[in-house]
Every structure is written in structure tokens, then in C-alpha cells.
Symmetry: D2
Subunit: 332 residues, 4 copies
């Protein structure tokens, strides 16, 4: 598969490493900043794509991987679809839900394979949780707890364009809740606060929040999101069912234990999010390549992205309305 | 200290064991069912109190321990106060918050030492969490998660008079949230469902719920309550602060690990709640005896009981209103 | 059962607590130091035995519990047997193996129920390990690792009369190895050193040792003994069999975990050995009382004590001989 | 660095992956089986070396990586040294200790950089243990426990040429004991048995063994080796010092925990040794490349290999002699 990688920033560089290591892929890089594109291309002995026209040229590429800034996703998706290229797109499709629906519908109409990068679905432990649910080992899912805590406040400039904690951070976990339970979100309640950095309120945002979701099966979901911990990157998921409970535990950055007087010290969590989730990017890419090769629809789909985004919309509304907000139906 | 134990049912028997083992206490037992009183008294080589008049006779007793049915607490409290006896009372003071306030005010006016049995405050691990908060080791508390999951549905007859999951089960954790954070509850949101036994809805109750509370310091609190797990009795608390996080982990009923092909099996949780919290009852009793002897006000006070109950009221309202409900101020 | 407790020192006081709490026992106390006897007796509202003649008077007692100094055990055992009393004896029967055999034979000839206090057999986790072995879940036992590490050097005066690390400390674990595996010790090799306190060598003793034992089934056993750790009291056992492995993990003195930057801190081990093994004394006593009442031979028997002692003899010899030493057969 | 990889079997293929991924290396492959060499070369887009003469041609290569069968190591090492090439050699230099010494001396005399692949030194957790020792955090090392348990019996043909459990399996841990403690082995005692497969005795070998080593500092070391577990690949190290204890825990193959009635099930150990130690090979290679580039002696040296081998010799002797065997001095 010939892939045009669009975007050579941090996340683009992550994809570049995985594209380079994938046995069935060759790729070239585009970035509006040509120096940046060149730097990534050189690191992997591959080429630079001179223009977006070239990146979307079906004679040169079979697929595009969209890792450019969020505000460009929609246009690139549309163009890829029009060119008949398979497309692997960083989330979200667009911060505006209506625009995201529109573009998703357009891509669907063109019939090209399209996948949104909810990379956490490719975490081995989360996949294991899902298997346990689907196998019936846990019985009916009744309660799910998801924890998402980042190690440090993002820059305020990022906050300003991020769409807020629900759309930017919690959205991954809204998706995981659906994916693991196999149920659809119905309504949402949320409390939020600006505890790590009060300036975040100037952007109408919060840095600490607790969200509860009722699913179509009656299952309840709790999500706690924190932007800044003092102890590294922390995520975990717990699924309580009628026949048992399972959790994907926190990961530790080493397996050494020290025993001293009155205390036992173990290695801490990963300092940053990337160390924790790194392997999921390669696995997601491989799932995309495999799906396209086998002619099956890649998953998670753009529609999956829309649903998670609709939960984020409802949660964002609930933060200020003081009401339980319904999750709107976003798929046809 | 001479104690009249009022109530010789399950919880009365628990108190009897601890009263018997306490070096500074001697006690007799009253129960409306004389046979039951006799049985408990015989087990500990102590006497039966013939009547309530005797139980509240200051010539015979210094204190009463109220472990009778909930609907009798208020009257017994009032009578103990009028007799000038110290009083240790099972929670709640009364299921009706107004009546509970009234009685608490009456007891306060009489000036007798009074303590409500929020026994979990005497759990070593929870006390350790609180110490970590008070010492500043965790910085400002920002997020607290409390899990309370019982091993089996209570009988429906119990459900009918319990006041519902918030007043009966969650109330302990509302109290712990206050006690550990040192902050006051401000507003509450909740989602609940009848997943373990749908018949519970006939009593206007739920068996599975997620509750979020905003505290006066801005800290957010999440509580998940489940009436029936498939894996024993499960409670844990996690406190995330600006300078670190701490958790009181689940307890295991043994420390044996078995390693087999592809899996590691450890001893499970306690099958029932009592095994888990047993030591807290003796510690609570000792705290009461010590406070009375030293002439300091016992803690938790009846007023502490009222606040936790006010949160339960707000949470119960939130279950059906679909709104974030304010916690009413209940203390003068 | 009427019990004469002989010895009111530390371990005698431990037994007194359990005797007092046992529903089927009443007891009085003897000690050569009458003040000490009185102090223990008063604490439990029981009587002082005026003389050894009284302690061994079958008209007054059904059993004796020997918790006096080691050098008196043999004589007390003999006297109890002659008086037809059941006897529960602290280990060892006698530091001299020949004398211990002689006395054990004498007691056996008299036919009185006799039990040696290898209290660790009554640890729940160790009993669980044994069950796993006996149920066949672990297959054939092939390798056992036992760790015994005390928190602090015993006083040198104690070391002088203790019989050395093998007879005093390791002996419990020699017994556990037999009891858990169901196999008999055949030969022993050992290395030892005086690392915590070099003065111990003046008593021909070591404070740190590693011992390996070959069992009759071919299974290999490793025991590491340390007199002084910097991290509290540490014991654990691991059993590797052809069908699986199981371990009785270290115990922690609390269940709180603190997460900080780059590290996770948990509660430490128990500071002293007694906190760790406390419940085993009551369970051992109850096993003795039950066996006597039901007319079955109490276990562990004096013969069990002899075998463990014979391993300790061989291990002590191996420390200096530089040879693998055979374990002598000590039972008829 | 231009590297000739000699040997394209399993371990050669492992090295090929790491050579391919190393930014500062390019490599070609030699194997007496040309098809095998071709297959590995093709996988990484690199070339096949036609003959050993070519592999040792300093005009074509800067270094050789010897991953061929054990009986060829000595000759290849000698030839590399004579050609002035840096050399990275799989362990052991030669199963015959005298021959290994001779070759090591020859390589030393030629002055080429040479490293033996004790890859476990490059395990992050073991390096962490060593750091803790060197920093003084653990005080003086007093006792070390090393566990090495493979998941399945090697084929008997392999056993026949392996040199036995001590030289083949335990040798890695003899090296780690030296490396972590910074002390030299003095004497050794060992017990062994054929429990997993009695046929191994026909090769004078054992499959289960316990070995104790006294180090030059007085520290004691225990090593247990098992060829076949029922629960996957198990290795761990524990270091007890005068100021604390530290352990490198077993690794788990996943972080999911399932809670059921009376038990908690976690993911098991790695099924095979390679999954556990995989990252150490790349780190060892990088250490070699870095040392050569910086002109410092690579570590572990051939002399380190000799010392570990001398311990294995003594341990092998102790298995049958029933004596504590001295470790011979093998370095000049």
C-alpha cells in the first residue's frame, strides 16, 4: 500500500515510524512546512510529497493518512474520498459536529474505506476487556469506570483550539465505553472545575471533570478526566458485570520493588501519555492496512467518531446546564 | 463505663463482642425480644436489662448504645439525652431528615456526649488517607473516587424500609468524602438503575448508581454504588490531589497466589461486608469510650450524620429530577 | 478444659490472651516469678498456681501449656506425661536432640496427647498452600523456597542459648517444608555468614544463611534465613510443582498506595514477627483443644518436632563441614 | 559500523532485526546454510556474505557478530581478533573452560574490542537493581536470590551438547550475581535432580537445581533453576542488603485483572523466555556499537564470560561431589 502521510508534526512522526516498520507499506510525507516534511522523510529514507495535489493523486497513492492540524481534517477527508483513496484520519473529523456529520456522509457516499484513529481500541488490555464482555464471562455489563488523567496541563493555546476537555480528552473514553460494552450512550451528566489552572476558564473549559453516562442497555458509565496529575500518566478501565468484574490496570514504568522500613516503593507510572499508548498506534495502522487489503470496512469508522463526539457535545452542555443531557443520534 | 446495649440483633451482637472485650466497659443488654437479649447476654456472661426504663436509668448506666431498629433511634436518643446519658447511636438518627435534625438539636441542647456510628471512619486505611490529605502530602484534593459494592441484594423487605440506596448505602461514603477531604458537599448529580433486581423499582429504589458531588473547595467526588456483585464485597477509595494520589486498595481474603499457564490466580475479596469492616466497630466503640472519659465531644457527631444524610437527600432527588441538586445546609 | 499455663513471659502472655478468649477453656497461671504470674492472671481475671506440684495435679487440670524457658521443657513434659495430662509445648522439646528423643519417647509411652507449637502450620496462607499440594493442583512438588527474615538481631545473650540460627529460626521452616510437601528431608547443604553482627561468631553462630534440602520425593527445598533486615519482618513460601506454582506472599501492614512522580509507595511489611504470626497462636491452641476433646492425636506431634530438629542438626553441621550432610532418622 | 553477522539461525535472526533497526549499523549475513542466510538477508534488505574469508575481511567489515553454533565460537573469535575486527560473541566462548581462557587471552593480546552477549545485563529492571546497590541505597549486599525457570524441557539433543544446566542456564545468573553485587564468587554448593524428564540423567544432567554461592564480600547468593514450569517463563532477582531490599519482579503478559467469586485472576507470565528478554538484545547490541565507537572496552568482556563459566564448573562439580567447591581464578 502506497500511503501519503499528511502532517509531519509530533503525531505525524509517530505514524512515520510505524509506516516505515510496516512490511506492506511504503510512504511519502507532505507537510505545509517543507523542512519538517523533509526531516521526517530523511529519517526513514522516504520521499517528500511536493503538494497536496500530489498527495491526493490516485496514480501515486492508494491511501492517505491525515495527521495534519484538526481544522484541515474535513477538507482532506473530502478530497481523499473524491480521489477514491482509502483514508486513515486522526480524530476528530471536525470539532463542529454538524460539519463532521456532513463530511462523514460525503465519505460514506463515495464508498472509500475510512478509519478514525481511536487508537486506544488497539490497546491489548482494553481489547482483552472487550473480549471478556463479548464472551459473556462478565455477564451483563452494569457499571463501567474509566479514568483518564494526563500528566500536565496542555498549553493554553492548545486548550483554546482543542474544543475543551470533553471533546479533546474524554472523547477517547466515550468511544471505549461504547466499544467495550457494545451499547449506545443515551444521556449524560457532568460536573467540571478548573483546579489545575484557573485560566482555563477563560476558554470556557475545565481541567477536572466527572461524567456519568447511561447506556442503551441500562449500564452506567463513570469517567473521570484530569489534565494534570503529580504522578504521571494514568489511565485505567473497570467493567463490572452481573457475573464478574474486570479491570485494565494502570501500567508501571518498570518492575522493581524496594522494601524499606515501613514502606514499599515501586516504579511509578509512565511520565507521559505517549509511553503508555505507543504500541496502539502501530496496531491501529496495521488494522487499517489489513482491512483495506481484505476489502472489509476499517473500524473504528467515521460514524464511530461521530457518536463519541455526540457524547462529548452532550457532556459539554451538561457541564454548564446542570441537567442530564440527551445524546443526539448522529448516524443515519 | 456502664453501658446499656439496646438491641440484640445482628449489629447489637457485633457491639456486644466489642463491649465484652473492652477493658473499661461493662454492659447489660436490652431487647424487646427477651430471648434474644438473654442469648447475647449469656454469650458474654453479662446481664439482661428488664425494661427501657432501666436502660435509661442513670443510676445504673453511664451510656447507652442504640443498636435497635432504625425507627426507634430518635426516641431512644431523646430519652438518653433527657436522662443525661452519653449515647452511641447506629446510623441514621432517623430516615426523615427533619426529624433527625430536631432530635439532634434536642440532644445538643441537653449537652450529652453523642456519637453516630459511621464506623468506616475507623478503618485504618481510610484514616491513613485522611492523614495524607491533612499533612499536605497530596496537595489540594481535586478528585475523590469511592466505590461501594455489596455482595448481594438485600431482602426486598429491607429495601422497603431502608430509605433507598443513597440513604442506606452511599451515606457512609458521603460521610467519608467529607471526612477525608475536610470539605463540605455543595451539589450533587446522580444516575441510577435497577439492574440486579428490577423489583426494587417498586420501592422507588435503584440497585446500581453513580453519584457526583461538588465540594466547597471545588473538589469533585465520584461514588459508585452497587448492591450485588458476583465477586464479593468491594470497597475502595482514591484521592487525587495536586501533589499526588493515594488509594485505599481493595482487601483480599488471603495472600496466596497461584501461577498457571497463562494466568495468575489470587485469593478473592471478602465474601461479605462484615469481614471487611469488622475491626472498625471495635475502634469506633473505643473512640466513643475514650472521648466520654476524656470529656471531649465524640466524633462523628450527630451533626456529621445530618450532613451525610442531606447529601443522600439531594442524591435521591437527583436520581429522578435529572438535575444537579443543591445540598441543603442542615446544621445551625 | 482446665489448663495450667506454665510460664508468664512474653510467649506465655500471648497464650494467656488466647486461653482467655477460648470458649471451652479456663486456665490458671504458674511462673517461678510469682509477680509475673500474678500480673498475667489479673489481666484475665484468672488464678495463680502456687507451685509446680499444683500445676501438674490432674485433679485441678486436664492439660498443661508449657511456655517456660527452653531448658525446662523436657522436665515439664515428662512430669505432665507422668501425671496423665495433655500437653501443649512450646518448641523445642530440648535443644539437645538425644534428650528430646528420650523425652518424646517417654511421653509417647505414657500415651498422653502432646503437641509441639509449630504455630506457623496454622497460618491460613500456609494451610492453603498445603491444600493446593494435597489436592494435586500443583502436580508433584519439585522445588520449594522459604524465606525467613527477622527485623532485628536478637540479644547476644539470647543467641548464646538459642542453639543457633538453624535450631532457633530455620527449624520452623524445616517443619513447614515437610508439612507442605508431605515428604521427608534426606540431606542438607548450607552456607552461613555473620554479616549483621560479627560478634555472633563468638557463639559459633551465623546471622545469614542459605540452606538446601533434598526431600525423599526428590523435591528440592531452599531456605534463606536472615536475623536482621532493614525493612521489617519478612516471610514467604513458594511451591513449584509439575502442574503449577503457588506462593504465600509477604504480608503488608496496610493497604494504602501513594502515587508520586516516578514512584508508587505502598505500606511496608509488619515491623515485627509477632504482628505477622499473631493469629496462628490462637489457631494452634484451638487445634490442641479440639484434638484432645475429640480424642485424636494432636498435630504437630513431638515426633514432628524431632524431625525438624534433626534437619537443623544436619544444617548446623553443614555450615562448617563444607559437605552435604544426611538427615538422621529420629523416629522409631 | 559495518557488521558481518555470522549465523542465521534463531538467535542470528534476533540480532538481524536489531542490526537492521540500529541507525549506525549496516550489516550482511553469513551462514554455512546459504538458503538460511539469504532468507534473513532478504527480510532486511541486506546482503549475503559468500564466505568466512569475506566475513573476516577488514576491508568489508568493522566488526563481526558471532551467532553461530557454540563449537564454532572459539575459532571465529580467534579469526576476528587476528583480522583486527571488533567482535560481539554469543555466550559461551567455548564450553571447555581451558579453551575459552586460551582464546580469550589471544583476543586480549590482539587488543580488539570484544564483548560476550550476557544480554540480561541490559534488562532495565536488573540495571535498576544494580544502580540501587551501587548508590548505597541497599547498604551492604548480604543475600541475593535469583530465579531462572524455563517453560519447557529443551530437546534432549540440545541437552546433550549444552554443557548441562549450570553452564547453559544458570551461567547467566552467575554473571548477574557478580554484576549486581560487584563481588566475586568464592565457593559453591549445589543440589540437583531430574524431575521434569528423568532421561536427562543419561546426559549426566539435571533439570532442577538449587545452587548457593559465597561471594568475596561475604554475601550469599541462592539460585534456583528449573527447565520446565507449568506456568510460563519465570525469572526474578531479589537483593537483600543491610539498608533495604529490592527485587526485580516477575513480568506479566498483560495488565488485566478479573474478579470472580473467591478469586482474582490476572494475566500470566510470558509463555516463553524470548518475549521476556527480547528488549535486552537490542540494548546489548547498542552498548557494543557505542563502546566501539567511543573507543572504550565493551562490557561484559570475554573475561566476564570466563568467571561466570568458572562458577558453572564449580557448581557442576558440586552437584555430584557433595562438597562445597571453590571457584577457580580464571583471569590473569
Amino acid at each position: 500500500m502506497r500511503v501519503a502521510l499528511i502532517g509531519a508534526g509530533f503525531i505525524g512522526s509517530v505514524h512515520a515510524v510505524n509506516l516505515a516498520a510496516h512490511p506492506d507499506v511504503r510512504f511519502d510525507v507532505f507537510d505545509v512546512d517543507t523542512t519538517r516534511a523533509r526531516s521526517v522523510a530523511d529519517r526513514h529514507g522516504t520521499g517528500v510529497v511536493a503538494s497536496l495535489d500530489d498527495a491526493f493523486d490516485p496514480a501515486r497513492f492508494d491511501a492517505v493518512l491525515i495527521a495534519s492540524s484538526t481544522d484541515t481534517h474535513a477538507a482532506h477527508l473530502r478530497r481523499a474520498a473524491d480521489a477514491g483513496l482509502a483514508v486513515f484520519c486522526e480524530k476528530p473529523v471536525d470539532l463542529d459536529l454538524d460539519r463532521a456529520r456532513e463530511v462523514s456522509a460525503h465519505v460514506a457516499a463515495r464508498g472509500v474505506p475510512a478509519m478514525v484513529d481511536f487508537n486506544r481500541r488497539f490497546d491489548r488490555d482494553y481489547a482483552h476487556l472487550r473480549e471478556l464482555v463479548r464472551s459473556g464471562d462478565l455477564g451483563d455489563v452494569e457499571l463501567v469506570q474509566l479514568t483518564s488523567r494526563g500528566p500536565s496541563m496542555p498549553p493554553l493555546e492548545y486548550v483554546a483550539v482543542s474544543g475543551g476537555q470533553m471533546r479533546d480528552q474524554a472523547v477517547h473514553f466515550f468511544d471505549l465505553a461504547r466499544w467495550i460494552t457494545g451499547a449506545e450512550p443515551v444521556e449524560v451528566t457532568a460536573l467540571g472545575a478548573a483546579l489545575a489552572d484557573p485560566r482555563i476558564t477563560e476558554h470556557g473549559d475545565v481541567d477536572t471533570s466527572v461524567t456519568s453516562v447511561r447506556m442503551s442497555t441500562g449500564a452506567l458509565v463513570q469517567i473521570d478526566c484530569v489534565r494534570r496529575t503529580a504522578y504521571g500518566y494514568d489511565e485505567r478501565i473497570e467493567v463490572h458485570g452481573s457475573a464478574g468484574m474486570a479491570e485494565a490496570r494502570r501500567h508501571r514504568d518498570g518492575a522493581v520493588t524496594r522494601y524499606g522500613a515501613g514502606r514499599v516503593v515501586e516504579d511509578g507510572l509512565h511520565p507521559g501519555w505517549f509511553e503508555r499508548v505507543r504500541p496502539t498506534y502501530a496496531a491501529a495502522l496495521d488494522a487499517f492496512v489489513t482491512a483495506v487489503r481484505e476489502g472489509v470496512a476499517p473500524s473504528p469508522s467515521l460514524a464511530d467518531g461521530l457518536v463519541a463526539q455526540a457524547v462529548a457535545e452532550a457532556a459539554t452542555a451538561a457541564l454548564t446546564s446542570g441537567r442530564t443531557e440527551p445524546v443526539l443520534t448522529v448516524t443515519p
